[in-house]
Assembly symmetry: C2
């Protein structure tokens, strides 16, 4: 997608006015309301408010979807402005070989026409999506098969050439781009579905398949992917697995450690480890694939994935609610878990500052205004009447108890997508607000928002915005701080404060983004020294020359 | 429990006659039936048959529960009759040190009163529950804390004394008892709950907690354990995690790889690896705990577990159905997944030969007779009216389509437990049938039962019984062959036939039981050579002297 088409879409979005849906226009009024007695009048009025919903237009929605993709073209500034990582962070290059003409000739022979050395073409792949780090790789390779990846690695290992595996380049911790001149190995052309079994729901595909494409493919077969995230339009499944991506469906379908059934991995020495089983259960020896899930390309390059996919839910509902305090957000969560039970599939929250950023920078419209916190609750089930009755009972309860002050409900696909975009596009809105300092933390839910409040108080006017949002259902806070430009002094005010704060509550300093380049030195806030030492031993065993994604994930062995 | 009390309970069971529940006595007739029209008469009659249910007596049920425990006292023959593993299998002892008087003195000083060296006391711990393997350990240690386990291992590693970690000794592949004179380290006294958070549902406990006790503890707090298995009355959570136990709830709550959030592990050199996080998401470095899940005590001794527990379902229903063919079992499964959706929590099957064993050896009564296959379907949900409506629609459909010919439904806890015992006690019934050859396989569901048919045809009259049952929802078949006594020739007829058959369909030769002592040499049927080599490297890295549970899980490095 080009920048001009994006601008056009944004203009359409800006010009669009938002008529409201009223309760009596709703296609599926819920049973409890039609049988309401006179004493329900006040509640009905409050509940009716919940069911107002902007009408959507298909053109907008497709635009929304495309805008939602994480790709460099959607951000405002040019990649050339990004400071080199080595300069900004003062990193020393490790003694890897430099790419020579004979290396280029070797790769041109191995994968003709799929070796990129043109500096202009390479620029996009050297810079991360946040435009916060930049490498200076001189070569990008685009293999199509595991055998080609194997040959590339065998050669690089022998020559001691460092490599940087890259999927959709949507990572947020600087893990997906080179730090120096590592050869970029892109999975973009490894984008084939290998098999799908509609009895077991097991999908086997190459690592470069884009998550959203896989989901669309599966939806036609009445299944869905077990994970979903804002970057779905760009990210690759191999990258998702390599970073153990969490996202929006983890609450319902669990982590990739449970749903990934098998992997094919090219190891540093070029050997292929085929653990691409398509079995729900397999206790024959150690589960080696787990080593590669979440290891951020530092132990091997994932070339194919076998993953268990759930049935497409027959009924999906989305509720967008407003609360006046974070304790009400928590109270609503506890109530929700009890009353929605097995149909609860997402519980997301965002503060009012997030909403302002989405409104100001992306011109999205908030259907529920004037609250301090907003909640998105999704239900997915197999019987729409049952789901709506459960949801209705829940809404009635949280409205009556005063936990929730306002809200809107969506049951149609287009409106559901539109409401989701308010949450999913916060990351994008933040990039338009200036330089972003991103923190992705696991914390006990009851303390989750205190960190936002404390950080805001600590930074005062030195920050432009301090916002909090995330997957409350998983105890996962996304704390983001924006400023007009990057500054060492602001960074010093944030770190290690945020990490120390998190460590005191036994939290994780990276819930789902990984450590990448930016956070590897902070691992000790979440892992004891013995664990880090063991990780370094694992790394040394699998990649003795250290060619795989160097400078990432683990601090150097002392 | 003593043998005499068991006999008494069995007598009570035998004397018990079985009145039937009729449809019109059912406390909660489902809505769809009360509104049935005349054309439903025939179906109603068929459905009414489904709702017959034996009345249970509490004394029987507690007996059932106790009988269901896996412990040596429940089996018929005495441990002393079991042949030594080293003799039966012709294994050579590795050059570990022998336990000396000064070693015993050291341990007596470290954990006074908790060092067992009396041969009579040791006998039970040297033999597996199946009475199929026997070691000759001369010492059992009962530490109470991770620090004590650490000290024990530090000493053993220094002295090159081999150890055998032991939980409830309920394993089925000879992994839980010594092969020679390994020191048994029992987790039995490490049985304390450390913490439970009722907001997050995260339980932290010591490794020696018995699964059933944990579940009872949680049920009082409105939660349950995410796993359940026949051996729950004896097995330890540490052993469950060390063997990556699957069991009856995997279909609903996923594998331990997703639900175990943290582990504390004592390594071979005595160091403690504390990865006991209580976070749903944590992407800080490699997920080391995964190495220990399913490694059968060969990489470290798990001393504590942090595990995510689901809410106790408000409504549980169990259906026990009869089918005339395996293709009907499969058809019922596909229908069930579509119609029960998110409330489906178990789908188990057993053939008529299993049922006969349970009836003959345990005197349990089958409420649905005359079918070739039996199915247990469990639903767990948050709204009983919704669940029953879904279940009713499903039953109506499978009865009308002829997939199911007979059945019974249970909604009350006692009756649910009684029906479950028909499935859970098959393992126990088999031990009463003679020498058991056990196979635990993952296969594509559509081929699952073909293996039972082919094995039965192959063995003919050389086997007493060839039965098939298991977790159909997970593609997991338990194939069991019984004979009057152990015979090499029968074993040769079964193996490698069963493994080759499984490998040709890319199945797993151990779905959930692990490899232990008995199956380690067959790993290549499910894992490529590169994977086995890498596993051996991992073992060498973590346990260079090989003291942890030797002779198990992996074949020796060549």
């Amino acid at each position: 997608m080009t920048v001009s088409s994006l601008v056009q879409l944004r203009l359409v979005w800006c010009c669009w006015t938002l008529p409201r849906w009223q309760m009596n226009n709703h296609k599926r009024p819920l049973a409890v309301w039609t049988s309401a007695t006179a004493q329900w009048t006040l509640k009905q009025k409050k509940l009716a408010e919940l069911y107002r919903m902007p009408v959507s237009r298909p053109s907008i929605l497709s635009g929304t979807s495309l805008l939602g993709k994480r790709a460099l073209s959607t951000t405002s500034s040019s990649p050339k402005e990004v400071m080199l990582t080595s300069e900004r962070y003062g990193v020393q290059r490790l003694p890897f070989s430099h790419v020579s003409d004979s290396d280029i000739a070797f790769f041109e022979h191995l994968i003709p026409g799929r070796v990129i050395t043109d500096p202009d073409e390479l620029r996009l792949f050297n810079v991360d999506w946040l435009q916060s780090v930049r490498g200076c790789s001189k070569m990008l390779l685009r293999p199509r098969t595991a055998a080609e990846v194997s040959e590339i690695l065998r050669y690089c290992n022998k020559r001691k050439l460092a490599v940087n595996p890259q999927g959709g380049n949507t990572g947020l911790v600087g893990g997906s781009v080179p730090v120096f001149d590592e050869i970029i190995i892109s999975t973009a052309l490894m984008n084939q579905v290998i098999s799908f079994n509609s009895v077991s729901g097991i999908l086997v595909c190459q690592a470069g398949c884009i998550l959203e494409n896989l989901n669309q493919y599966l939806e036609e077969l009445d299944f869905i992917m077990p994970l979903d995230l804002g970057a779905k339009g760009s990210c690759h499944i191999g990258g998702n697995v390599a970073t153990n991506a969490g996202g929006l469906r983890l609450l319902r379908y669990g982590s990739l450690r449970g749903t990934v059934l098998g992997l094919e991995v090219a190891l540093a020495d070029g050997s292929i480890l085929n653990c691409l089983a398509s079995l729900r259960k397999d206790n024959t020896g150690y589960d080696l694939k787990q080593l590669f899930i979440g290891s951020e390309g530092t132990l091997g390059i994932i070339t194919a994935v076998s993953i268990l996919c759930p049935r497409k839910p027959k009924s999906v509902n989305l509720v967008f609610l407003g609360c006046q305090s974070f304790s009400q957000v928590l109270g609503t969560f506890t109530t929700c878990k009890g009353m929605l039970g097995e149909i609860l599939s997402a519980y997301e929250f965002m503060d009012d500052k997030c909403m302002k950023l989405v409104e100001n920078h992306l011109k999205l419209s908030n259907p529920v205004t004037g609250s301090s916190f907003y909640i998105l609750i999704e239900t997915s089930g197999s019987n729409s009447a049952h789901d709506e009755e459960k949801l209705n009972n829940f809404l009635e309860h949280v409205m009556a108890s005063g936990l929730v002050t306002d809200g809107t409900v969506a049951t149609e696909d287009k409106k559901i997508k539109m409401l989701w975009s308010l949450r999913e596009r916060i990351t994008e809105a933040l990039t338009h607000d200036g330089c972003v300092y991103k923190y992705d933390l696991s914390l006990p839910v009851e303390r989750l928002y205190d960190l936002v409040i404390d950080t805001r108080a600590r930074l005062g006017k030195t920050a432009k915005n301090v916002v909090g949002y995330g997957h409350l259902g998983d105890g996962n806070l996304h704390l983001n701080i924006t400023a007009e430009s990057y500054s060492h002094s602001l960074l010093d005010a944030i770190e290690p404060f945020v990490y120390e704060w998190t460590a005191q509550y036994n939290g994780s300093i990276s819930a789902e983004h990984g450590l990448g380049f930016k956070k590897k030195h902070y691992i000790q806030y979440s892992k004891p020294q013995e664990a880090v030492l063991l990780m370094q031993q694992v790394k040394a065993m699998l990649d003795p020359k250290g060619i795989l994604n160097p400078y990432k994930t683990l601090p150097a062995s002392s």
